[in-house]
């Protein structure tokens, strides 16, 4: 189909933030948020959000849309892989990533699908993994509705690319994505990821951030004050004012796309 609506979804286990873009034009046709059914014990984390996505396509989309899904980092695992001189081919990189994830997460990692952002020799590469069942389930949901699942990307990676930071800067660049009860925080220097932590934050992202920063600095010998942290707040529960400084880092709130458009839509609906 030539003219498809574009359904963009930020998927978390509890809710879907979405916007529906027409094939032509920049203003969304519909913007909203859909709560998922409560998680039942023993079911995969993505089960309820998959069902909500099916409902979203059925109820809100015309015909067969193109679907772009941005996965909450709660569905994603990250590892930074040190450069190894003997690893060259894509198959070798895949095996290396599988081994690295199994080291941390055990046999569960066998059922994950992995991608590696392979860097030039001498620099570490970022790998991320998602449950293969989640990918299969979302593809089936889209296929059944004649929709096309065009993108399935981790939210941290999407937002980092969206802000198009100058990656060659010599000073460390801190970038974080905070969701309700979860924080993904990375630090990059000279086009290389130094450290990345993707952790639950049961007491909220604001309480979790200082400890994460201290641990990352200590374990990777990252210098102290003087740098900035660009922080994206995602999901309804992560709203709140951003502090001016955390652990010596000047904090800048970075927009997520969904947030800005939702606010604009809400403002417009209120007249």
């Amino acid at each position: 189909m030539l003219w498809r609506d574009i359904l963009q979804v930020f998927m978390t286990p509890e809710r879907l933030d979405y916007r529906i873009m027409p094939p032509v034009g920049l203003s969304p046709r519909d913007v909203g948020s859909l709560a998922c059914a409560p998680l039942r014990p023993g079911t995969p984390l993505w089960q309820a959000s998959g069902a909500a996505l099916a409902e979203l396509i059925d109820r809100h989309c015309n015909a067969s849309p193109r679907v772009d899904v941005y996965l909450s980092d709660r569905f994603v695992r990250y590892r930074i892989l040190d450069w190894q001189p003997g690893i060259v081919t894509r198959a070798e990189w895949r095996a290396y990533a599988e081994h690295a994830f199994r080291e941390v997460h055990g046999e569960a990692a066998r059922s994950w699908q992995m991608l590696v952002d392979i860097m030039p020799p001498g620099r570490p590469s970022l790998a991320c993994a998602v449950e293969a069942d989640l990918i299969v389930a979302l593809k089936k949901i889209a296929e059944k509705r004649l929709a096309r699942l065009a993108e399935l990307r981790p939210n941290f990676v999407r937002l980092f690319n969206r802000h198009n930071f100058s990656s060659g800067r010599p000073a460390p660049l801190w970038f974080g994505v905070a969701e309700p009860g979860h924080v993904c925080l990375g630090v990059k220097r000279d086009k290389s990821w130094l450290a990345l932590r993707n952790e639950p934050a049961p007491d909220g992202w604001l309480a979790a951030l200082p400890g994460m920063i201290r641990r990352m600095r200590a374990s990777h010998d990252i210098p102290g004050a003087g740098e900035s942290l660009h922080l994206c707040l995602c999901g309804g529960g992560a709203s709140g004012s951003v502090p001016a400084e955390v652990e010596g880092l000047a904090v800048h709130a970075a927009e997520t796309g969904f947030q800005r458009r939702r606010m604009a839509a809400v403002a417009a609906s209120r007249g």
């Binding site: 094939p23 032509v24 991608l115 998602v130 593809k139 065009a150 990676v157 690319n161």
Partner: protein, 167 residues
């Protein structure tokens, strides 16, 4: 940084892509049409040039034969008769409406008899008129003409006598 897309990127054809494809196809079709038209014109011109060349060749051969017949080698008439100029005048006066069949020159008398075919008597008279306009020609007049049938339709066969001006 790599987009890390977990679904294989499918081929994307946006409306702009389709539009560009359509424009490309249309431009290609126009160019092909123009090329074919130009090729057709070129082939027509080549054919016409070949035909004219073929028409002139027997005239030149006949002229050579006439020289041999009327003035054997070494005779003064052959040396003084301006063959090149005469043949050039005949060639310049001949166009696509006239086909030369035979050419008989009496160099000593300074005259040439042409056997030719034209599409109509007007074309034959035009041909005689063009010859007459040449400074090399003293007189040019029609000796005879007749309508003949040919595979391409009726043609006018005619005999023309040209008297050259030696000055």
């Amino acid at each position: 940084m790599d987009p890390m897309n977990f679904v294989a990127p499918a081929r994307r054809f946006s409306p702009v892509s389709w539009l560009l494809l359509a424009v490309g196809v249309a431009a290609g079709a126009i160019l092909a049409d123009r090329y074919l038209a130009a090729e057709e014109t070129r082939a027509g011109l080549a054919f016409e040039a070949e035909r004219l060349e073929r028409q002139l060749r027997p005239a030149a051969v006949a002229a050579g034969a006439a020289v041999q017949k009327s003035a054997p080698a070494g005779r003064p008439a052959q040396q003084t008769f301006p063959w090149d100029d005469v043949l050039r005048e005949i060639e310049l006066a001949t166009d696509r409406r006239v086909a030369l069949l035979a050419l008989d020159t009496e160099a000593a008398a300074g005259r040439t008899r042409l056997e030719a075919e034209a599409r109509s008597i007007e074309d034959a008279l035009d041909f005689a008129e063009r010859l007459r306009a040449s400074p090399l020609v003293d007189r040019s007049f029609l000796l005879a003409h007749e309508i003949r049938e040919s595979p391409a339709g009726p043609v006018t066969g005619f005999s023309l006598q040209v008297e050259w001006n030696p000055a």
